[in-house]
Every structure is written in C-alpha cells, then in structure tokens.
Subunit: 350 residues, 2 copies
C-alpha cells in the first residue's frame, strides 16, 4: 500500500479534471491524456508503447503479442452482434494489429446480480462461436458477481496471446512518408448500430454492427507483402482518432481524401440524425493499414479476396509535411484538419 | 451472433437459478456449477482445466502459464492494501500457483464516471509499487469508463504470463495419497480486514489484509524440491474451498488437523462477531502446497526462510480413503467433513 500522507515523491500529475469523466473512456484526447499522465508515467517500460493495441514480448525465442480489452457495451445485444462476440473479436483484432497470429484468449466476467441466466448463456454461446470462427481458444477465465446497481448486466475482459512470425514488424511508429493508407471497408457501422438501438431509431434497413475477427484478413495481407508498416483497428474514436494516433506516433503527416472513404447511405443518414461525424464513430470489423507504396497494389488485391476486405480502398497517404497532423481533402475540394476526438460522443459503444 | 430463435442445438443448461446470484461469484458450490455448466461446457479444450488458477500453454518450445482475474473489492482501500496492489499480487499468485515465474501483466480498468482522480492515482501508484516488488512488468492496458451508477468506483482486470521451467509440473490433479499438506501461514486475514472495514468494526489491533506476491516463496520452494505436486492460493471460499477443489480434481481424500491451522486471536474474535467460519474466509497472501512426503521437510524449511512463509506448517495429508472429501480432526478430537462453501458469505472481497 502506498502511504499517501507523505505523498511528496509522487504527486498527482497535473490534470484539468478532479474526477473521471465519460470522455476519459472515449478513445479521444482525454483518454490519451489519462493514459499518458496516469498510466505511462508510472508503468514505464520499453514494452508499453503508447497507443499500440498490444505489447510485443519475447519469450523462449518466440515473439508474442499480448493484449487486453474490457467490453462494457450497452445494450449487450445489438443488431449484428453482442458483447460476447465483440469481446472475442476485439481482442483477436488487437493481436492481429500487432501482426500476430492470435492463439489463446482469457475471459474475465463481471456480472451484475440479477442478470438472466438465459442472457449469460447467449453471451457464452456467442463467445464460443466467435472463438471457433477466429481459430482461437478460450483457455482460462474468471467470474465475479457484483451487487445489483453496482454494475450493468455484464462486463467482459478478454486478454490474448498471439505469435508474431519472423520478418514481421508492424507498429504505429513505422508509418513513413509515401506509405499508402488503406481502409478495409465502410466505416461507422458498429457505433451507429449500437446508437440506433439505444436511441430507438429505425431506418429503412437495419444497420448492423460490423464486428468481425480480422486475423484471416491480416494473414492474407502479410502473405501478400511483409512491407506492411502499421495496422490499426479504428474502434473507439473512429478512423479520425486512429489516424491521429499514428501520425503522432510516427511523426508523419497524413492526407486522406473524403470521397474515398466508404460510408453507406443509411449510416450517413443516421449520423445526420444523431449529429455524429462518421469519422469519429467506432468500427469493430475494419482496419487501417500503412503500406509501402510499392506493396500497396499487392496488399489491396489480397484484401479484396478476403470476405472482410472486399471493399478495401486506398484513402490517402503519409507525407513528410505537417508531421502529426491529419488533413482531409473534402468532397468540394477544400482541406480540413481532422483532429482527435475531444470530449465524448458515444459512451459505452464497445 | 447466435440465433436464439432456433436454439434447439444449445439449450440453456439445467440450472436451479434463472438469474445470477451474488453466490455465483463467491468461489463456492454455485461458482463451480456456473463454471462447469456454462463455461466449461462450451469452451471445451484441453487447456481449460477446471479450477486451476491458470492455463498452461506451449509456444515456441516454452511452457507458459496464462491467467486472468478481475478485482471488484469493496471498499477499494482497506487496511493493509487496496484494489491496485491486490490486482497485481492476485494475478502474480495465480501464475505462481502454476509453478511459473510471472513476467508480464496486463491491466484493464473499468472506471465509474466521477471517480476522484486522486483515488485513481493512488491505485496506479500502488499497482506500480506491487509490480516492482513482485518483479513483473505491466506491459499493456485498457481503460473504459461507465456512467455513474453503472459500476462501482473501479474494477480492475489483470491478466498475466509466466514461464514454467523444465521439470516443474504443478497442478491440482497431481495430489496423491501421502502428500503432506502445507499451509504458508495464518488464515482469513484478507477477508476479515475488508469485512471489518465494511461493517465499521474496530478491534484492539487493526487486522490487515495479507495481500502479497508469493512468487519468491514459490521459487524458494521449487529450489528446495521439484516434488511439489499442487500449489493453490486459497482466495475466495478460503482454505475449505481450495482443499475441496483439490480433493475433487485429484480424487484423493484430505485430512487436516484443526489445531495445526494458524488463526490469529483477533481474527478468531472478528469471525465470531461476524458469524463467519475462518476456513471459508479469503486469503490473498497465503498458499497451500501438496508435497511428496520425502520432500516435505526441505520444502517447509525453505518456506520458513522466506518472509511470506515464516509461519508455514504441515496441516494434514492426502489419503486414499474418502476420495473427494475433506475431513478435519477438530480440537476436541472429533471429525467433521469440511464442505465447499455453499451460498455467499462475503460478497466482493477480492
């Protein structure tokens, strides 16, 4: 236990907030500040690379990716998926974004007293289905129950281990000028599916979450070329936050073309009704890749053959200018700076 | 997503409860039933050994232990520790109980909106202190924030990876008749420390949680002898539940002697006031070992030299008779069956 009465050696880092806000979990600016000031300042080590989806560790000659994610999505069942499937796919994707082959997952359940046994069963079946489909095994777990009103139905943590094969080096720091920025398909589906349900909105066609395990897509891409520098699944904070994080990590500028970014019409409509910018809305089955220019065609072709990359497209490139800043050429030919998400537009979306 | 409308292939397993009760998280009979009927029935694989503290997996020639645990203790600061320290030590111990050297931990935070930044900072400092003391690195993390009233200050999941050295094979299944049962020190401190605070009880001396990382103790034991068959930290459900789980896994009987089990007087007094049986109260810095009889003296001697095992003592042995059942010789010379914890006596103790 830390004696806080002395407290002089480790004062609370300067922060503008005396309490945690929802926005601290939003994946945007405040999340970054919290992670940097609170966690990274203390847990300093070379593995803890800021803002990567997992840590890369070496054990017995093997390079492993190790990742963790907690899922608190509300509602727990939503169009196109549920919290169980999301928890498996999300951690599989975090490992895949390190260039790893995901192998083993853990599952930690925090259940609110009173959860219907039937609901838990649906979640468990869904996790097993997702694990089987992604080719990973759930090998260890833990269950806690909290009193009614001290949780919200069910929260699930999944952590995972994957193996990174020889010659693969995928990390946000590796983006460099000239890299093509590839997006694997249409954006904002997951966030809008969850929000529509929460807000009771109905559209002509039901918008479904894109939750999916992307490890097979990543393996196809790696088989096409090892010159993949960065992989990132744009979840909380959407593609805008993901691109900003990469620009910051690699000290490059990023230029994207609005017209190239696929957004389904019904998603656009929902975003207008909800007052959301689709660039900031969470995805759960999409990835962004930074690929050496000479490898881009081969990687793109390999993606389009995979069911999770049929609509893959180059949306822009990394540049030497305006390091750390993401600029979008708009549909009408103007330019706008695409910032990190500030504040919180979509609490508890994943 | 699972289509539940058909639902015929995977009906909800027969259970006596339509909703989750607090007791499903208590570490006793209902927790076992939930784990067996819900989780093990679906997530079937050879790694998922029922009731072991972690999974043992082989990657690149190395045997690794992989473990996960969520911490929901209430209150988050208690005499002798806090949720951060507990989260680090608990997962370090789960790995150590697999005979592994714990190396890397992840940390997943689920924070309730409104948590004082100062409290989060105390928890983070405490985690880092505990990690340093145990010789492990926190290498990856995740932060989620849930709306006020949908969580309880902070829940922490820690998952961990450790390496199991050559020649070590520690698992509940390996207990066999003749094995000496060693307990590393006095019991029930953690549970009583937390409960006393929660109930506003005061005793002449403050009872402090025993939270500690036991990996150095385990390494000392292993260096003394490889003939350690089982290691278990008796957390939720206390030593009674831990012994029952081992008896069940290994199909052996267990006989323990009440007088040998060290229980401090103030803990005894608190248990009487609270109506608790100390055998069922959680420990967070103790272990039970099943050791081949010829190795028991050496292992015991090694434990007593370690600061976390100075009071280590043989409390009984495994026997061929009454397989699966734990019998205690009481102080007055009678015998009583020591069952699994049924129901829930101490919610949210860890």
């Amino acid at each position: 236990m830390i004696d806080m009465s002395s407290g002089l050696s480790c004062p609370l880092p300067i922060t503008d907030y005396k309490q945690i806000l929802l926005a601290h979990g939003g994946g945007g600016t405040l999340t970054q500040q919290l992670v940097r000031k609170m966690f990274l300042s203390q847990f300093q080590n070379s593995y803890l690379e800021p803002l990567h989806d997992g840590a890369v560790i070496t054990i017995g000659g093997a390079r492993l990716a190790f990742s963790t994610d907690s899922y608190v999505v509300n509602p727990i069942f939503f169009p196109g998926g549920d919290i169980g499937e999301l928890a498996v796919n999300g951690t599989v994707n975090d490992l895949a974004m390190c260039g790893a082959r995901p192998l083993y997952l853990s599952a930690g359940f925090i259940i609110e007293e009173g959860l219907a046994m039937e609901d838990l069963w649906r979640v468990v079946l869904s996790m097993q289905e997702a694990a089987k489909s992604a080719g990973v095994l759930l090998v260890t777990g833990d269950t806690k129950v909290v009193d009614r009103g001290k949780g919200d139905k069910i929260f699930i943590n999944t952590s995972g281990i994957g193996v990174i094969d020889e010659g693969i080096d995928v990390t946000p720091k590796r983006a460099r000028p000239g890299d093509r920025v590839i997006l694997s398909g249409p954006i904002a589906l997951h966030g809008i599916a969850v929000m529509s349900m929460r807000e009771g909105l109905e559209f002509e066609t039901q918008i479904k979450s894109d939750t999916a395990a992307l490890n097979s897509l990543v393996m196809d891409m790696i088989n096409a070329s090892k010159d993949i520098h960065v992989l990132r699944d744009p979840t909380r904070g959407g593609i805008a936050s993901a691109l900003n994080e990469i620009a910051g990590s690699a000290h490059v500028g990023i230029e994207v073309v609005e017209e190239k970014i696929p957004i389904p019409d019904d998603v656009k409509g929902a975003c207008e009704i909800l007052g959301l910018d689709p660039l900031y809305v969470a995805n759960e089955g999409k990835l962004i890749a930074f690929v050496a220019p000479e490898a881009a065609d081969a990687v793109l072709a390999s993606m389009r053959k995979n069911r999770y990359g049929t609509d893959a497209v180059v949306i822009g490139e990394a540049v030497a200018a305006h390091a750390g800043i993401v600029i979008m050429t708009t549909a009408i030919g103007g330019h706008r700076v695409v910032d990190m998400l500030s504040g919180e537009q979509l609490p508890r979306i994943c």
